[in-house]
Amino acid sequence: MALPLKYHTRYLLVHRATTLLTVLVVAVVVGTFTWMSGFAAALGETLSVAGDPQKMVVVRRGSESEFNSALSMEDFNRLRQLEEIARDPETGEQLLSGEMLVQLQLPRRSDGGKTLANVAVRGLREVGAKVHRDVKIAGRFPGAGQREVIVGAAAARQFVGLEVGKSIALGYGGDRAFQIVGIFTAEGGPLESEIWGNVDTLMNAYNRNGYSSANLLFSTSVDAKALAARLEGPQIQLSGFTESEYWQKQAANIRVYLGFAYALVAFMFAAAVFAIANTMYATVAGRTREIAMLRTIGFRPPHILAGFLLESVLLCLLGGILGCLLCQAWLSMGGAMKDMYGATTFSTLAFVIRLTPMTVLFALLSVCIIGVLGAIFPARRAARIEVVTALRQT
């Protein structure tokens, strides 16, 4: 015989003010936590999407990002000799893409264009679209010799002026107009934060005569580690990372940063536990005689204990749901767009913070834990109330 749910919900209503304030405390803590989990999840998702297991990023030895890398034509020709590189099953074309990377400063939409972000501009040829096989282009690939670019969907969403038909100024002197002829997606991966153009046209515009890096697909029969070792070896003397390795490295500093923020939120979680405990102690104290009455009519201590735990969890769940709603409201009000430098590049990764079902589920689960932790001692006190003494008490 457990206490009916109604008994508890009614009390939550009786002490409306206290219930409301406690629910709000939980809501604010959970809202903050959810925002940060959403942030971490969005970032993690962006980076893990870039996990083509057959793709390798090749850079100059000693360089840890494509931007700081330079490959001469000899370097590139040595790469060409590798028989590990996969070939297009139809055309037999080697799936090796020599690429050039530069940066462009663009205003952010999120703050109305007040601040600028460094956006990556990548030059490649059409074979690049086959190497980066997640990429889907709406529009056409920039033609050879044409001053045309296509923009990643995330970049288009987050920076001002990236619309099909418009032009952006590129080139070393920032004085050559390139027309935007398409938008591309990369299943939400980091490439979506980039702008792509034809490598030869861009090299010309930036007075360059070598690639920055190369991307390649290797045959399924090839072991990634062995290939990386071969690239490092005396014959080629370059560095290769699988794509996921490369992007995970970019997240290193962001992880430290998030770790710090999580530590701070943990403090607030603890505070919420104390706030709940406070409320629950007051509830129990105010109902001492009533609990004694329940005991006399046959409820046993475990029922009382479970009842108060339930009441607290109910209170917290209410807060948790409200917190998730608050967070969602904040995100829909424009707080969702975020971009950050990678650990080794000075160019921006753009992503959108979203509340995934997992995040919400996790938030609600933690909220239940808060509820139980906060109520455990007050509920035990309630369960231990001595009937005779309590009834005699005024």
């Binding site: 940063y257 923020a261 701070l264 706030a275 430098y341």
Partner: protein, 390 residues
């Protein structure tokens, strides 16, 4: 006995509640000091930097584009009489890494003749400047880097560049820099770097940034305008930003830690307001009869209002102090640094941060106590007595 005494005794009425509330105040307040310290330190830093009257001249398209060597004299030529411009110091990113190590040391090559003039806040002594001019491998190292790698004045070490042509250079440390905005950066001589570039057939290298120092704030603004105008419509169009604007770009792009900290600070304030308000409500509910007696024996409504409000403020300050003081003491013992790109964010505790936190806590206590205090004031003595009697 005084009213103050009665007030303090009131907090002892329900020690458990007082303790829980104080803890619920202390924990978020610990977060608050940390957050506010970072924001405050950055504000102090940017104030100090503004006094330094420096601006960065970089390529308009991106500071990863190199500006030619010769630009330094062209900038100097804009102010022949040196009425506005103190000095120009070219800088080039080196991005060196201790061989075998993971992390990159923020390392920059700087013109050795003008570096001490443009950066007087680095506070190089005459002796140190002499060393810096004599030894081509000389470098000045930020305190945090020096601590990380165990370098001292006189230490020799080598760094390998992470940008083309990836050369490895050897350095001799001539100074450890304590200045808070330069604790995680290292500077060395650009002529040394250019020589190594030439030896590898990669010279001349050029600069990422030319830092200028002006005589006064007005001159700085004028110079910014003049420099950008002078190079307009050339392949090396420039963008000149004062030091704070230049740094702000990095901070923003590195995840905007100050923004996050401000958000957390606001969240903390909201939480504390709710916690404080809740406690005062609960304790009021239990004390209705007693407050009614206070009024019956002649305590005026305003006195009761003050009584409840003061109690709330004392509770808030007490709880906050329990969170603020340990964190403050801890940060005084072990100063931390928040990871981030560009300037490191020193997380040292300032007394302003601590005092400010306590002040904010007092305000929160005040705000949280207002409604309960108002209710206590409005309390109808007769009704309250009746409700309890029943």
């Amino acid at each position: 006995m005084t009213m103050g005494y009665v007030l303090l005794q009131n907090l002892r009425r329900n020690p458990l509640r007082t303790a829980l509330t104080a803890t619920a105040f202390a924990l978020p307040m610990a977060v608050f000091v940390i957050a506010i310290s970072i924001v405050l330190n950055l504000a102090i830093m940017s104030q100090d930097l503004a006094k330094q009257l420096r601006a960065a001249v970089h390529h308009r398209v991106s500071f990863t584009n190199f500006l030619p060597e010769g630009m330094r004299s062209r900038i100097q030529a804009l102010d022949q009489g040196k009425n506005r411009l103190t000095a120009v110091c070219g800088m080039r990113w080196f991005g060196g890494r201790v061989p075998g190590a993971q992390n990159i040391v923020q390392s920059l090559a700087a013109d050795h003749d003008t570096f001490p003039i443009v950066y007087p806040d680095v506070a190089m002594s005459e002796h140190e400047i002499a060393e810096w001019n004599r030894e081509r491998r000389a470098c000045v190292v930020g305190k945090l880097i020096a601590e990380q790698y165990g370098w001292k004045v006189g230490s020799q070490f080598s760094l390998q560049s992470s940008i083309p042509p990836y050369q490895e250079l050897e350095f001799v440390c001539v100074k450890i820099v304590e200045l808070s905005s330069r604790q995680s950066v290292m500077y060395f001589r650009r002529d040394y770097l250019e020589n190594s570039l030439e030896a590898l057939g990669a010279g001349p290298g050029g600069c990422n940034v030319f830092w200028i120092r002006a005589r006064d704030a007005e001159s700085l603004l004028a110079l910014q305008r003049d420099i950008d105008a002078a190079f307009a419509n050339s392949p090396d169009e420039t963008k000149t930003e004062d030091e704070n604007a230049f740094i702000a770009g990095f901070i923003q792009a590195a995840g905007n830690i100050p923004g996050l900290m401000q958000m957390l600070a606001v969240v903390v304030v909201v939480i504390l307001g709710l916690v404080g308000g809740n406690t005062m409500m609960m304790s009021l509910r239990e004390r209705m009869a007693e407050l009614a007696v206070f009024k019956a024996i002649g305590f005026h409504s305003l006195r009761v209002f003050r009584l409840v409000l003061t109690e709330s403020v004392i509770l808030a300050i007490g709880g906050a102090a329990a969170g603020v003081i340990p964190v403050w003491a801890l940060l005084n013992l072990i100063p931390l640094s928040v990871p981030g790109r560009g300037p490191s964010m020193p997380l040292t505790a300032s007394w302003q941060g601590a005092a400010g936190s306590l002040f904010i806590a007092a305000l929160i206590g005040f705000a949280a106590g207002l409604w309960p205090a108002y209710q206590a004031m409005r309390l109808k003595t007769v009704n309250a007595l009746r409700n309890i009697g029943e």
